[in-house]
């Protein structure tokens, strides 16, 4: 029995590692995701919302993955940028100040504002590493949440902001979950494309060198100051984008939407998927955001079961579901070495 499962997984791996097989798989998944909202089944609205929400977390995961997975900067306050993006849109497009600027204008502004905040956070922590960096960023996330709670004149405090405008696209008001489902899907694809290009560029290589050894990176000529700030800015930009979409979708936001659990969840989904791996972020989001909803039928035992699955997974696959090539080499170097010289990292593959 075990052997049969092993041979099946072998076969699946084989298919997925050929380019045609991989594209066919991606195409099939994409097609399924595209038609879900069009199908007619019980609880359709529920699933559209859950998967849309998962997509939002994929966007956040891709952003934080740049900071944590690629550049190696442990950021525990990522929710701050999500909040900045969300509040930027909510303040500029609602009855609160009676300003109603178009979503498509505010979206880039909200993302840029968050990116700018990322640089502001980055400057004081340039010389920090590891745990110290984690503590400062954790504090930053809390500071932003406290600010939106207490700046009542600006943000309406814990009463939150309600009646946030829906976006319009060619005269169509985007307000149902299905609309946002498709919008988020498009942004997920854009974010995957952009982060993938960054990863494989000179910028990505600079991040990786910095992550591995900061001094050695400087010695080969990497401007670590610039690339650290760039990582914070790119991550924050994507977080801000996610925040603006979130506030437009939900129509109302409250400081509680931006508590530390958001940061922790996003970090966890990256770890579960496999640090630094883009497909890992996608799988991790489904595992961490969708799965708890699937388990909802077990009601009270849901989180227990979920925690159990996480423990099993960390024992069985410490490197995550779809590890980036490098982490796999790191954690299973011995097995690979015993299997003989491997050419998994090709000469151009950096």
């Amino acid at each position: 029995m075990k052997k049969r499962i092993a041979s099946v997984t072998e076969r699946v791996k084989e298919i997925l590692s050929s380019p045609i097989g991989r594209w066919a798989f991606i195409g099939a998944v994409l097609a399924l995701i595209l038609i879900i909202p069009l199908m007619n089944f019980q609880q359709r609205a529920f699933w559209v919302r859950v998967i849309g929400y998962t997509g939002l977390y994929i966007i956040l995961g891709l952003g934080l993955n740049v900071v944590v997975g690629l550049a190696g900067l442990l950021d525990l306050g990522y929710v701050a940028f999500y909040a900045i993006g969300a509040y930027a849109y909510a303040l500029l497009a609602s009855g609160h100040f009676d300003t109603h600027i178009s979503f498509w204008l505010v979206l880039p502004f909200a993302a840029l504002l968050a990116g700018f905040a990322g640089i502001l956070l980055g400057i004081p922590v340039l010389r920090m590493r590891g745990d110290y960096l984690a503590i400062v960023t954790l504090g930053f996330g809390e500071i932003i949440r406290m600010l939106v709670t207490n700046l009542t004149d600006l943000t309406n405090g814990s009463q939150g902001l309600i009646g946030i405008d829906s976006p319009y696209l060619f005269g169509l008001e985007l307000k149902t979950s299905t609309h946002f489902y498709y919008m988020i899907l498009i942004f997920v694809i854009i974010a995957i494309f952009v982060t993938q290009r960054l990863d494989r560029s000179r910028v990505g290589r600079s991040w990786v060198a910095m992550r591995e050894d900061e001094d050695a990176a400087q010695m080969v000529g990497v401007n670590t100051t610039r690339y650290k700030l760039l990582a914070f800015a790119v991550g924050a930009f994507i977080g801000g984008l996610g925040g603006a979409i979130f506030s437009a979708w939900q129509g109302s936001i409250f400081p509680d939407n931006f508590n530390i659990m958001v940061s922790i969840n996003v970090l966890c989904l990256i770890i579960i998927g496999g640090m630094g791996s883009i497909p890992g972020v996608v799988i991790g989001s489904f595992a961490l955001i969708t799965l708890p909803d699937i388990l909802r039928q077990f009601s009270d035992y849901r989180l227990l079961l979920f925690g159990f699955l996480l423990v099993v997974m960390m024992i069985a696959r410490p490197e995550g579901f779809i590890p980036s090539q490098r982490r796999r080499l790191e954690l299973h170097a011995e097995e690979i070495a015993h299997a003989g010289p491997s050419e998994t990292i090709t000469e151009g593959g950096s």
């Binding site: 400087q218 080499l329 491997s342």
Partner: protein
Amino acid sequence: MPLLEIQNVHAYYGNIQALKGISLHVDQGEIVTLIGANGAGKTTTLRVISCLLKPRQGSVLLDGQDLSEFKAHQVVNQGVAMVPEGRGVFSKLSVMENLELGAYSRSDKAEIQEDLERVFEIFPRLRERRSQVGGTLSGGEQQMLSTARALMARPSLLVMDEPSMGLAPVLIESVFESLIEINKQGTTILLVEQNAHMALQVATRGYVLQTGEIVLSDSVEGLRKNAMVQKAYLGIE
């Protein structure tokens, strides 16, 4: 004009003075060694050369140009490549990726390829292991990788911090042989070592550093005959 000239450098860590006005020079084509015990200021000297530490007084000139205007990441562009203490290989990247990062500041693809061939000729072991991750190499291989990575920057000056550290004697010998080969191909070398015995065999000249001061400077023959060096660094009574 010397390739590297350090003039009266004073350097501090906070209030603690690590270098008390050292001066030395390295001429084009030489192998110069800087020997000294633990805490003498060897690594500090290298941190000053690589602009990781700014001297409070004095200057470092490369080809007559003051290096203090540059940031640490720009030094390699000026032609100084470092092989840091403890090797500093990117342990999760493959040998090939390590070498590519060595050529980070260059864009001349054809010449990079040429240099890759060159370092593989000097260190054939690295060619065999090119897809292996750095962290799984043996100590000697990591030293080769670190040296090869520095060479990928095509430096005019190669600065090495204790390449013999933690290596078996037979490996130390092969590391030093490769240094001679690298030097023959035209790269000037500043070799910082505790292992005076080996260093004095490959270098042409040497300096002795003690508690932040240069106490001796001579040709290696002169240093080998010096009573103080024999007693303190070569273990000859």
